[in-house]
Each structure stands twice: as C-alpha cells, then as structure tokens.
Symmetry: C2
Subunit: 201 residues, 2 copies
Amino acid sequence: MNIKYPNGKTFKQSDSTSKLTNKKVSYSNRGMTLEEDVSETNEYYLTNGIAVIHKKPTPIQIVKVDYPSRSAAVVREAYFKQPSTTDFNGVYKGKYIDFEAKETKNKTSIPLQNFHPHQIEHMSQVIKQQGICFVIIRFSSLGDVFFIDARHIIKCWKEMDKGGRKSIPYLFIQEVGHVIKLGYQPLLDYLKIIDEHYLND
Amino acid sequence: MNIKYPNGKTFKQSDSTSKLTNKKVSYSNRGMTLEEDVSETNEYYLTNGIAVIHKKPTPIQIVKVDYPSRSAAVVREAYFKQPSTTDFNGVYKGKYIDFEAKETKNKTSIPLQNFHPHQIEHMSQVIKQQGICFVIIRFSSLGDVFFIDARHIIKCWKEMDKGGRKSIPYLFIQEVGHVIKLGYQPLLDYLKIIDEHYLND
C-alpha cells in the first residue's frame, strides 16, 4: 500500500518490511525510488551551497490548452515525449555535471533498453565537451548503488549494436563502477566520487 | 498572420515586412522569436560538435492521465508550473553554461518582471558554483541583441527590492553588455562572447 507523506512523497510500503502499526521505517528499505533519493540529495547539495543540480522536467507535447475565464490555463490533451537528453544536469565547482539515474530489480545485470538511443548520443556529446557524464544505477533487490562513467555505458551500447549482449552484467558494473554508500545527509553522496576520481588532479 | 513551416516553426509574418506573394523573407526581420533563434543556434553548436546546450522542457504539473487501450497515454489535465531555473543550460569546453533568453518590444528598458524570483535565485546559485551565467536580451523593436552577465541582472533585481527602478535601462545594458551580432550560421553566436570574456585567461 501507499502512504502519502507531508512532503508529498509516496512511501511504497512493501509487505516484507513493516506493518502499518510499525512506524519505524527500515532505513535500508524505505521504498523510495532512486529518482526520489537523487532529488533529495540534490536538494541537500543546493540548500548547502555545494552544487546546483536539477532534474529536467518531463518533455510533453501539448496539443490542446483550455483557457477558462478567471483561472489558470488547463492542458486538456498532451502526450509524453521521449527525452532527448539525460534527466539530471547542473554545475559543481564550475564543472558541468550530467547524469541519468536507473534502477532495476534484476540481480545479475541491467538491461540496456533502460537507455534510449538519444540518451546514449547525448552522453557522447557531453563527454566530447569535457563534461562529467555518468549513470547512477541501483540494483534495488540487492540494495547496491553504483556510479558508472558514461563511457562504459556507451561502450556496452555499441557492442550490443554489433550483436553483443543486451544488458550490462552486475559484475562488470562492480568492476568499473564506484559504490555510492547510502548516507543520511546527503542520501547518495555521488559528488564524493567526482571529487575522488574526476577533480583530484 | 502565421505560416507553419515544415520544420514545425511558426513564422510570424508582420504586415510591414512582406506580402504573402513575396516569398523572399527579409533576413533582419524574419519574425522568429528570440527563443527560436537561440534554439537554432544551439542546434548548430550541437551538430558541429561545438557545445551541448538545450532548452529545458516547460515544467508541467500533471493531474490526470488517460491510458486508452492500444495507444499512448494521454494527459487530460495538467497545469503550467513556474520554472525554478533558467531555460537553457549545457556544457561548452567543460564549463557549465546557464542562461535565460528574454525579448521586449520596449525601446528604452526591459521590465524586471520578465524574471521570476526563482530564476534570480538560481542565477546566484550558479555563479556561486562558478558556472557561466548570463541573459540574452533582444530589444525587438530596435533589432539589438545583448549578452549580459547575470550579475548585473541580479544587482538590478536587488536594487528594485530596495525601492529602485522596476526595469533595466537600455543604456545600462548597452554599457555593461556585449552585442551579439546576427549572423548566418550560427544565428546568434553567443559563445564567441564567452570565448572573449570568460575563457581568455
């Protein structure tokens, strides 16, 4: 069942974690989506003057808008468009930051169909412009969160195009990625990885 | 009247420039909005591997979505939200680029109400993170386009809050801004100003 919290977020309570009477929510299994965790982390970064990173709004093709008198315009017909870029971008210490957040329930790999061709193309373009581009992947069944440089994702995608495998193995991500440990504030301190692996020269 | 072009853009033909029979469109008065000009410039930058700069989608609060069988989800009720950031951002030579494009028909100043408080706050945050933040302003009646560092806009905004004037004078913009000359490809080469005034050290 879903519980609405005052902050507007929906807490998806799974049967295995807690009963309704049990108010104490297990931290490692709060049922928040990866996107929500990342957005909360970004809010922390913003509030504390650490970085300015936002999620881009979902692109929508608007077909029909009503303008009722005395009230706000109402969109009456619109369709979801496929994003042409990644979901998150912003600035950290003057550097351009660009990433996508994906989660899978699979335990051994993440399907490459999680990424659109446009996103892969966008990642290549960002890297060419010396932006810092990566993907945050959560294996929700395992509870593991990884930071993987977009170059690895692009490489796997290109190999798939040549007949290679259609997913990225967990073991490969473990090998080339960096673990993002779940913290308290911020929840997912991915900028720490940027400090250690991108800005330390 | 409006003419729809194959690229989906609307060409606003003004009575003073040309008649319907006159297919030759005056370059200096093509009737394209500043936003369209900037987007076309960004497309040129992207295609030529110069920079990766996109307009963010308009943020929309979705209330009701229909899922007709066998077809795409249809948004049936949604409202426009006020953007919490500027419209354009991206990466150029590793640097974070962030800006807003505004045009006015006024000839002597641009009203500060063109900017939302959230946008002013966002610009301050970007500058703190050493991002390159600016505004492109077109005085459409005069045909002049300026590149102004966001610091000047923020300063004017703060002065307005203290009882100062509610608009930014053209003469001030002329003094502190940089002229963006209308070109052929790209249309509005604003990165040239960044090369000259931000990256030349």
